[in-house]
């Protein structure tokens, strides 16, 4: 039983990281119907900026976090206006946007690699001892990361459902052409979405860096977030969170009780089974109810 609870706790903490990333995917997908493959590069960029701010500029953590968020927003919005907007304006097929995103990803990851090198760095924060409940260990960092993840996601929900800008984004998610005909500024929506993407990826990057390590290829994990958002239902925010939790817990339970060697096999098998029975994901909705 203790082992089961330990695996459950680990699973939820992994799910919380997946959730931040999955929501980023879901947001871009819901409006533009393309997968933002550059997301993992933004994540690594955010982590590296915070890392440099703390280790080289001796900034306190909160200031480094803010700096990292601002710089990642600049990168995210910059890549939107350089790599995606020209394609959108020329009405390029969505596949081209995805390829463009891959290009941004490769470029950013390799520039990071060139400047900082490919070593794995420990994030320069004091490591804190986990809390033990019986023999079950709960990481304090996991609790903080989890709380911040859900706090940010809650703010995002408020923004989308309680502000005029949020309404504009939701309208664009249903039909971006009609929304722009109704007077919603298409480019402004794009900028807001990529600002949110920047914030989410920077936070995810920093917490992932603290939890594991900071390295240029750290964004590999986003493939799991991608699965999570598909399992939940691509394009829906609550679904992305539910999908992340399910995937995180499933992975640790498979590792713990079936075989850790076949964990990824189960993750992908699970994805296939879900898609066979729920082609829109577990909580996938019709087009007019997205987000």
């Amino acid at each position: 039983m203790e082992l089961f609870i330990q695996q459950l706790v680990s699973g939820i903490s992994i799910g919380a990281i997946y959730a931040l990333l999955a929501v980023g995917y879901a947001l871009v997908y819901s409006v533009y119907n393309f997968t933002n493959w550059a997301f993992d590069a933004f994540m690594a960029f955010g982590a590296f900026m915070a890392f440099v701010a703390i280790s080289s500029l001796a900034m306190p953590f909160w200031l480094a976090m803010i700096l990292s968020i601002i710089l990642t927003i600049i990168l995210s919005v910059g890549s939107e206006s350089l790599a995606y907007r020209p394609l959108r304006e020329r009405k390029a097929p969505r596949l081209f946007m995805m390829i463009s995103a891959m290009g941004v990803n490769l470029a950013v990851v390799n520039i990071i690699n060139l400047i900082f090198g490919g070593t794995f760095r420990k994030f320069p924060v004091e490591s804190v001892q986990p809390i033990f409940v019986g023999n079950v260990s709960i990481g304090r960092m996991d609790l903080i990361a989890g709380a911040i993840s859900f706090g940010v996601l809650a703010l995002l929900w408020l923004f989308l459902y309680r502000t005029r800008w949020g309404l504009g984004i939701r309208a664009s998610a249903i039909d971006i052409q009609t929304a722009s005909l109704m007077g919603i500024n298409n480019n402004a929506v794009a900028i807001i979405i990529f600002i949110i993407t920047g914030v989410l990826s920077s936070i995810a990057g920093v917490f992932y860096g603290i939890k594991y390590a900071v390295f240029p290829m750290m964004g590999i994990v986003t493939i799991k977030a991608m699965i999570a958002s598909i399992v939940g239902g691509l394009g829906s925010l609550p679904a992305a969170i539910v999908g992340s939790m399910i995937l995180g817990v499933l992975e640790t339970l498979v590792s713990g009780y079936i075989s850790s060697s076949y964990r990824d096999l189960f993750s992908f098998l699970f994805l296939i089974i879900i898609l066979l029975f729920f082609p829109n994901g577990l909580m996938g909705k019709n087009v007019d109810e997205k987000l």
Binding site: Q7, R121, Y212, S261
Partner: protein, 393 residues
């Protein structure tokens, strides 16, 4: 007028012809005899710490040979390609070295998963390849027991390292319940753990948990929780990437799992200590060479001062491989033309040749260096400490 023009064209044509002739003569004079040596390494991707620490050292050595006049009138040229830490890229760049660059010999790769497919390609191209740290048995000898005539290596092989680890854990540390955490996509880890397991069980030990993960994973708590539950007193994790061991050590501490950690030469880099030194206090790491060995101190200081990067074992193994090829070229030049075939023949029969790290004798039957010593190190106060040296029988 027309005639004059015609004459002009004729004259121009003559001058042009003369120029072309002269130029071809001149280039004939200037044309140096160049031997191209390829180096395929990891400059980007998850293992991007391998290439940057070795390329400058290899280039320095090639420059030194050229400054001394080359080998028998031949200048050497080092051609470096990035494998992006991917097997597919490693295969693509080695084909380029063989087909387009016409390299006479190639150094690399550093990992078995890439070296195994490359062995067949080297045999087909008839160009010798010297792998650096690819230690799986099948790198030089196929699964059916056939020797790959053009594949060599400078490191020791996995059976030997796995055997030594099991021996040390059972006899010296007195541990009886081992857990294996294996990168299932890495022939290096899978092979090493198989040999560890065989010998550990043979000695009377027990394998209480066999867990797996794949390259790129950062989360090991599920596996570690299971290992804790199984009551293991030894965690064997011969990862190829030090990140895996660093993260596992951090997460083991977070789970309250106190266990002896043991790992192999794949993770023996200074960066591991920066990442998880305190969590790895007392861990055992076996390796063929050690950066903290006094004989490398001078080299390390000079290297770091010149290139601003720390030398690691990949630097040493890279130099070993380059010097092995250098030896092959020197011998081939003595006998005639330094063709890939002649270089291969010379390497195959090399006996007691001083390379960068040690003297090497090549086993013509297996293309593995004979009698490479194995060092058993531990981590004490965030530094590597040599415990003992294992001499092969």
């Amino acid at each position: 007028m027309e005639k004059a023009m015609l004459l002009g064209t004729k004259k121009f044509g003559l001058v042009l012809m003369a120029l072309v002739l002269l130029m071809s003569l001149l280039t004939g004079c200037q044309q140096e005899k160049v031997l191209k040596i390829g180096y395929i390494t990891e400059q980007t991707g998850v293992d991007a710490y391998v290439g940057p620490a070795s390329v400058p050292a290899l280039q320095d050595h090639v420059d030194k040979i050229n400054a001394e006049g080359g080998i028998g009138g031949y200048k050497l040229e080092l051609i470096v390609y990035d494998t992006r830490s991917e097997v597919t890229d490693a295969v693509a760049v080695i084909k380029r070295l063989f087909d387009q660059d016409k390299a006479v010999a190639v150094i690399g790769p550093s990992w078995s998963a890439a070296a195994i497919p490359i062995a067949d390609i080297a045999d087909a191209a008839k160009v010798p390849v010297v792998a650096t740290t690819a230690s799986n048995v099948n790198v030089t000898v196929s699964e059916t027991g056939q020797l790959h005539p053009y594949m060599f290596r400078v490191c020791f092989i996995d059976p030997y390292q796995g055997y030594a680890q099991a021996d040390f854990a059972y006899n010296k540390l007195g541990l009886r319940k081992a857990a294996l955490l294996t990168d299932i996509a890495s022939p290096y880890t899978v092979g090493l753990h198989q040999f560890f397991k065989d010998h550990f069980i043979e000695l009377g030990g027990e394998i209480v948990a066999e867990e797996g993960y794949t390259q790129g994973d950062a989360e090991f708590r599920a596996q570690l929780a299971k290992i804790k539950d199984a009551g293991a007193d030894l965690l064997v994790m011969d990862a190829y990437t030090y990140k895996d061991v660093g993260l596992a050590a951090q997460q083991a501490e977070a789970l309250g799992l106190k266990i002896q950690i043991m790992s192999g030469d794949g993770v023996f880099v200074p960066e591991l200590l920066e990442m998880a030194g305190p969590q790895l206090e007392g861990a055992i790491v076996t390796t063929g060479v050690s950066e903290s060995a006094p004989e490398f101190a001078e080299f390390n200081t000079a290297f770091e001062a010149k290139h601003g990067i720390k030398a690691n074992i990949y630097t040493y193994y890279g130099l070993d491989a380059l010097m092995m090829i250098e030896y092959g070229i020197r011998e081939a030049v003595k006998k005639g033309e330094p063709t890939p075939q002649a270089i291969r023949d010379a390497i195959e029969t090399m006996t007691d040749v001083q390379l960068f790290t040690s003297k090497v004798t090549m086993d013509p039957e297996t293309h593995n260096p004979l009698k490479k010593p194995l060092l058993i190190n531990t981590i004490k106060n965030n530094e590597w400490v040599l415990l003992e040296t294992f001499q092969p029988k």
